[in-house]
């Protein structure tokens, strides 16, 4: 997803672009050949969604140095905005069965609703940011966490039911499976339900990378490195922090919309603090300040929690030996231990602050050095 920066043709960036394209091609091919019920696609879809949200969180925590824990709140706003505006008008009476079909009686195309989801999250971020961004470090974290909790409660409020459907779920809106191209008889001819989320996340992450490498991105990094020096260099702290907060929330909102499409239903109570922590964990494991790291660790995280460790939840027999302790929930114990080991031994996360092109560069350098010797 590193398709950016505009220096003279840098081979490392070219290689990175090739790698990213190969990944997309592989996803497309896998989707056409492997059964759509495979866990692989669950992981890829959720992984792409989480990657976007993790990168958006990294923009704030890793690149601007603002420690915010409101991500789940902004995802919730995004998911609801998407759901509310895309449920087909005919279905609304069923979805909003306790609220006479709700007050929104039209529906928007999915990409418009997705954009709106981001804008709505950014708008809330703007409002929340006015008081919250004056706070420093842990106070800001607590305030943003509190905001996410309040949002979660407000969206379940009965009085807002005509819009949010109260504590009932939203469903029947477009999902990832609707991206599959079907023929007249309803049979799927081209599977796109994984590729499209990949493209959405890729485009969004690409935009974030462009921002990070622009003059604004440099200003944000300056604020992270040294607020006092940044301000002395003429960077207005308040407006730049607000900018980062709103942009991060915009993409968290889009990520929320993607999560809604992935889950096929939206319910406010699922956007818990634990979700923010999961994303924070992804950011930390991937490397604070590395977009590549966030993407990589998001897929690893989702794969571990949803797929690769599943066998630990069931009885396993090797030969005649029944492995002890394996029962429902044991997976989470092992998962926690793995995370602790990663954090202990990879203090900087998997990637540190390196990006995909840096990997090619360092190799390049080593080769040069080897030749020199």
């Amino acid at each position: 997803m590193n398709n950016t920066t505009k220096k003279k043709a840098d081979p490392a960036i070219f290689f990175s672009a090739v790698v990213v394209l190969c990944i997309y091609a592989a996803v497309f091919i896998a989707e056409q050949t492997i059964a759509p019920t495979s866990m692989l696609f669950t992981v890829l879809k959720k992984g792409a969604t989480y990657a976007l949200v993790a990168v958006s969180m990294n923009l704030l925590n890793g690149f601007t140095g603002i420690f915010s824990l409101g991500q789940a709140g902004f995802m919730l706003i995004g998911a609801y905005t998407f759901g509310i505006f895309t449920i087909p008008a005919a279905q609304r009476i069923n979805v909003y069965q306790y609220y006479n079909g709700g007050i929104v009686q039209f529906s928007l195309p999915w990409f418009v609703a997705m954009l709106l989801a981001g804008l709505m999250a950014a708008f809330f971020a703007f409002l929340i940011g006015l008081p919250v961004l004056r706070l420093k470090s842990d106070y800001l974290a607590i305030a943003s966490l509190g905001f996410a909790e309040i949002i979660r409660a407000v969206f379940q409020w009965d009085k807002l039911g005509v819009i949010t459907n109260g504590s009932n779920m939203l469903n029947n809106y477009p999902t990832f499976n609707d991206f599959n191209i079907r023929n007249a008889s309803g049979k799927v001819t081209v599977y796109l339900s994984t590729l499209v989320p990949f493209i959405i996340a890729g485009v969004c992450i690409g935009v974030i990378i462009l921002l990070i490498n622009s003059t604004y991105g440099r200003a944000l990094k300056a604020i992270r490195d040294d607020e006092i020096a940044a301000e002395a260099m003429g960077i207005r702290l308040a407006s730049h922090k607000r900018l980062a907060f709103c942009i991060s929330s915009f993409f968290a909102g889009v990520g929320g919309a993607m999560l809604a499409m992935y889950q096929t239903t939206v319910q406010a109570k699922s956007f818990t603090t634990a979700m923010t922590y999961e994303i924070l964990l992804i950011v930390v494991i991937g490397g604070i300040g590395s977009v590549t790291g966030s993407c990589l660790s998001s897929f690893l995280f989702v794969a571990c929690s949803e797929w690769w460790l599943r066998f630990l939840d069931q009885k396993q027999v090797i030969g005649t030996f029944q492995v002890p302790m394996l029962r429902n929930g044991f997976r989470l114990v092992v998962f926690s231990v793995i995370i602790m080991i990663v954090v202990l031994f990879f203090r900087q996360g998997i990637m540190g602050t390196k990006e995909l092109p840096d990997l090619f560069r360092s190799q390049h350098k080593k080769e040069k050095e080897a030749q020199g010797k």
Partner: protein
Amino acid sequence: MSTENVLHIEHLTMRFGGVVAVNDLSMDINQGEIVALIGPNGAGKTTAFNMVTGVYQPTEGKIFLHGQDITGRRPDEITKLGVARTFQNIRLFSSMTVFENVLTARHLRRTSNFLSATFRLNTAEEKKMRQETEDLLKEVGLSDVKDEKATSLPYGKQRLLEIARALSTQPKLILLDEPAAGMNPQETEELGAFIRQIKDKFHLTVFLIEHHMNLVMDISDRIYVIDFGKQIAEGTPAEVQNNPAVIAAYLGVDEEDEEAGKA
């Protein structure tokens, strides 16, 4: 004083609780001058700098830049008006290279907004920023280390980089807070020549705090001396050097001498 006044400070006072860090400081700096502010440790020199650059709001008094009242303005606004500074304890952007440090200081002269910058509609401006940064680094002699991490530079070069970064904001007045701290005599001498050189090159006015008296006496046009926040002397290096109050502040005074002085 025929030349244009750049910085005019009037009865500036800063109190932290009961402590008076700067007490009724007044001074004038004219276009093209190198003016030093000296005084023993804790005299309030850096506090005065912090008020001029907007980090602190003065308790009393006013600060004028080119006749414009800038008292109480934000640091970034003051920088935009053409006042740049360096820090006593080096404050470089530690994750960035030398080049990026200087480039980042160009951000305030941007005309692009975040959207046009993100979607690369400002390539001409970005190119210009990079070229100017390149030129500036050449000017100050940091071209050969431009891709190195700022914090990996030797101490003296980090100081130099701080000055380069400050210059990158295109200032008219530059405030140097102990630029020679930690430098050996030879480096200090080079720094003196360097300050003169950039002053002429960029048409600057220089306001500096420094403890290296050789440097101060060598390059300053005028010197202000403060002690316990109060101005005790002002004048050319020669005048200040022979001022009894200054000698007293630096070397301490025997009570006898003091009485003799009064008499």
